[in-house]
Every structure is written in structure tokens, then in C-alpha cells.
């Protein structure tokens, strides 16, 4: 006898899903086989018991409590919010916007803000302007310390100081990000008449920089310490200080050159 086959039909029999012939065969088997009959009997009884389990009445106050809880603001429906959108969406969009705004602010913030020095590595010190390679070792980099008084100084004399300083700043910015650190003359009688820019530049790019400086103002060649800038190595990094002055005050130039 194949009891397994018949036992696998018990549930279909219980649900009334057996064909008449299958039902007849199973019924015949149950008359003949006591273990199957017992198993069937207990399954049938279990099914009956489940059907006969009493149905409970919910507490009378159930709906009143639910309605009272719904009046509580914590459980109010959000009618302002489209139902087919996920609940996390507003928070996600908010976080993304916050990130975007932070990134945008970071990009437009002037470099002289003191807290930027807390995150020196967060910006690329790589020149991106024309004539400069993307490779870090060839790039124009910014000197972190402004006390390098041994670096050669080029004096750029200009008529309109503020305009020239602006032009120079944007020109150097096109070479380097972030904007170069700059110092004002500490004892200038009229602030903004002299400004020092410090940078490092690959030797091979020096002529290009000089050409750009000539476009902005009169480059005082006498001040260029030619022995240091005459024949720099092609890959050698050259430190340069550029002083922009409007009236050529020697005192101011000296102060800036000496790092005071």
C-alpha cells in the first residue's frame, strides 16, 4: 500500500478539492488502512476544532479609543503629503539639499577665512589653469607658510591697484585652486595699496607666468633676483613672491619682502 500517496491527498480531501474518483479511492483506502485512518481522523478533528473556535467580541470601547487616538495630533493623517511617496523622502531631500548648499558655500567662500585652515586637505592644491598639467608634481601649489623670506620677489607696479590686484588674483586663481594666500602690507597708511602673493610653480611654467604678469602691470625686472630664477630646472618647483604695489612705496615692499 502506498500510504504516503494517500496521506498527501488528505488536505485536498479536507478542502473538497479531490475529484470524485480520487475521493472514492481515498475513502476505500481509509477503510482498509488503520494508521492512515487514524491520521486522517486527527487531521479532520483538528480542522473541525479550528472551525469551531469561538469568535470573540472586541471590547465595546475599541472604536471609541481609536477615534480618540486619531484626534491626537500625533496620529493625524498627513493630507499635505502625497500618499504614494515614501515617508523618508522629505528627510532625504532635505539632507541632499543641505549637502549641496554646504558644498556650494565651500566653493564660493573666500580663502582667508580662518576655519578653512582646519581642512587643508579638503581642497585640491592643483593648478587647473592653462599651460599646467593635472599631475600634482608639475602643478602650481600654494605655500602654506608665508614666512619663506628666501623666495625671490617680483614687484609688479600698477596704476590702478585694486583693479590690478583683482586681475592678478583671478589670473592666479585660474592656475590654482584654492585662491592663493595673500598678505596685505601690515603698516600701509592706506590699506590695500600693496599686496603679497606667494606661490610655487614648476620652472618650465615660469615664462608663461611672467607673460601674464606683464599684461597686468609693469614688472620691475630689477627686483627679480635673476640668479635664482634665471635657469630653473624644468621640473624644479620655484618659490616666488609677487608684490603688487600702486605707488611703489619702498617701505611697504621691504616690509612685505621681510615677511613683517
Amino acid at each position: 500500500m502506498n500510504c504516503g500517496k494517500y496521506q498527501s491527498q488528505f488536505n485536498d480531501y479536507l478542502d473538497g478539492d479531490l475529484s470524485p474518483s480520487e475521493r472514492e479511492t481515498l475513502q476505500y483506502h481509509l477503510k482498509e488502512c488503520l494508521p492512515c485512518y487514524r491520521k486522517w481522523g486527527s487531521l479532520q478533528k483538528t480542522h473541525e476544532i479550528l472551525h469551531q473556535l469561538p469568535s470573540l467580541d472586541p471590547p465595546e470601547h475599541l472604536s471609541a479609543v481609536v477615534m480618540a487616538r486619531l484626534k491626537d495630533s500625533r496620529f493625524r493623517q498627513r493630507f499635505w503629503y502625497p500618499a504614494n511617496l515614501p515617508r523618508w523622502l522629505p528627510m532625504g531631500v532635505g539632507a541632499a539639499l543641505l549637502l549641496l548648499i554646504s558644498a556650494a558655500l565651500w566653493q564660493v567662500m573666500p580663502s582667508q577665512y580662518p576655519w578653512q585652515s582646519l581642512f587643508p586637505s579638503s581642497r585640491k592644491n592643483v593648478a587647473t589653469g592653462p599651460g599646467f598639467s593635472e599631475k600634482p608634481h608639475e602643478s602650481l601649489t600654494i605655500r602654506k607658510r608665508d614666512s619663506d623670506s628666501s623666495a625671490p620677489v617680483m614687484v609688479l607696479r600698477v596704476k590702478d591697484f585694486s583693479r590690478a590686484a583683482q586681475e592678478l588674483r583671478s589670473m592666479l586663481r585660474s592656475f590654482a585652486r584654492p585662491p592663493l594666500p595673500e598678505r596685505q602690507s601690515p603698516r600701509s597708511p592706506h590699506a590695500g595699496s600693496a599686496r603679497l602673493f606667494q606661490l610655487q610653480i614648476p620652472g618650465q611654467r615660469l615664462p608663461h607666468l611672467l607673460r601674464e604678469l606683464h599684461k597686468i602691470g609693469h614688472l620691475d625686472q630689477g627686483q627679480v633676483e635673476s640668479q635664482k630664477l634665471a635657469n630653473p630646472g624644468q621640473q624644479e618647483q620655484v618659490s616666488i613672491r609677487i608684490v603688487v604695489v600702486s605707488n611703489g612705496s619702498d617701505v611697504e615692499i621691504r616690509q612685505l619682502r621681510e615677511g613683517r
Binding site: 488536505n11 486527527s42 483538528t46 476544532i49 469561538p54 469568535s55 472586541p58 481609536v66 496620529f75
Partner: protein, 207 residues
């Protein structure tokens, strides 16, 4: 009109009325929601009671289910029956509650507690004035219900839910497969295993 077509017509009307109430609910009408709740609270309460085996827990969770339904009713598009959608919420909430209670050893403590469903049921006593059970029969029946609930608590929640929905609440395989997002064949095989588990548990108790 035959009895069957009359029943179909009646269920169609019922569904239309229910959809009307749902539409009003979606516009924030609490009174319509109260009416919907009155239509379904007994079935949901009993389902949860059979899943958790405690009246107190069933009451709390039924409240939570209806509150969740009210808050989420705008996501109900009417593709399935409202009751199917409501049962899906109930199933999710019940699963979470069972996990929570299992971590606190609730079902072990619940064993042999004698409140398994014969202390309030109005249906069980209605209309039985002449054929009311004798005190002995009552005790036996109460004991049996308690044993069944104890066994229900012992079988896995997945098996329990399918057994309660099909054999206690009488849902069809199609309804079950929609509620549980399972193929009818899977529902059937799971139900078969669940019935076998319950049978074994009860057989162990009565031997």
C-alpha cells in the same frame, strides 16, 4: 434571481458602499472611518487574538492597526478589497508584535493561561438556550480551546497566520495569496504543513 447571483449582487453592493466610505476617509472623514472600523473590527480583533493568544494584546494591536490604516488610507488605491489591504496591515503589525513579544518570552508565560476564548464570545452562546452545553461540556470545550490556542502559540508565526486565516477565518486560497503575496500553490503547501504541525501538537496533548 438565484441564491448565488443574489449573494454576488449583495457582495457587489457591499463593496461599492465600502469603496464610498473609503473615498470619504481619504478626504479625512473620520465618521466614515468609524463606520469602516465597525465593519471590520471583529474579524481583525479575532485574527490578532488568535495570533497572539491574549485579549489585552489583541486590543492594543487592533487599535494600532486601525490607526495605521487611517494614516495610510490614501495609499489604498482600491485595486484589492479593502479587507485584503487591512489584513495586510494586520499581518505586518502582528509579525512585528510577535517578534517583540517573543524576545520578552511572552508566549512561554502565556502557556496554560485560561483565557483562550470562551469567556466573552457572544456567538458561542447566542441562541443556545435549549441546547446550552452542560457544565462538563463547557469545561471540556474551554479546555480544548485553550489547548488549541496553546498549540497555535507553539507553531511558527508563518504557519499560524495561514492556519488562522484559512481554517478559522475562512478566507479562500485566492484571498490568502493576495494577502500574503504568495502563489496559490505556495499558500496551499504552507497550509498543509501548518495543519500537520497543529495536528501533531494536539495529538501530543491528547495522547
Amino acid at each position: 434571481m438565484g441564491t448565488e447571483s443574489l449573494a454576488q449582487h449583495s457582495s457587489g453592493v457591499k463593496r461599492q458602499e465600502e469603496q464610498l466610505l473609503v473615498d470619504r476617509c481619504r478626504r479625512g472623514d473620520r465618521e466614515s472611518f468609524a463606520q469602516l472600523m465597525r465593519l471590520h473590527e471583529k474579524k481583525i480583533y479575532n485574527f490578532i487574538y488568535r495570533m497572539l493568544g491574549s485579549e489585552g494584546e489583541a486590543e492594543d494591536l487592533t487599535q494600532d492597526i486601525f490607526i495605521a490604516a487611517f494614516r495610510g488610507i490614501r495609499s489604498f488605491r482600491g485595486e484589492a478589497k479593502f479587507s485584503t489591504w487591512l489584513y495586510r496591515i494586520a499581518l505586518n503589525q502582528a509579525r512585528n508584535r510577535i517578534k517583540y513579544l517573543s524576545r520578552r518570552n511572552f508566549f512561554a508565560r502565556q502557556t496554560r493561561r485560561a483565557d483562550y476564548g470562551l469567556n466573552t464570545g457572544s456567538e458561542s452562546t447566542e441562541g443556545l438556550a435549549d441546547s446550552a452545553p452542560t457544565p462538563e461540556q463547557w469545561t471540556m470545550a474551554k479546555d480544548l480551546a485553550a489547548q488549541v490556542q496553546e498549540c497555535l502559540n507553539q507553531i511558527p508565526p508563518q504557519a499560524r497566520q495561514i492556519l488562522v486565516l484559512r481554517d478559522v477565518q475562512g478566507f479562500s486560497y485566492d484571498e490568502l495569496s493576495e494577502m500574503l503575496s504568495l502563489k496559490p500553490g505556495t499558500v496551499k503547501s504552507r497550509l498543509h504543513r501548518a495543519r500537520a504541525s497543529l495536528r501533531e501538537c494536539l495529538a501530543g496533548k491528547f495522547e
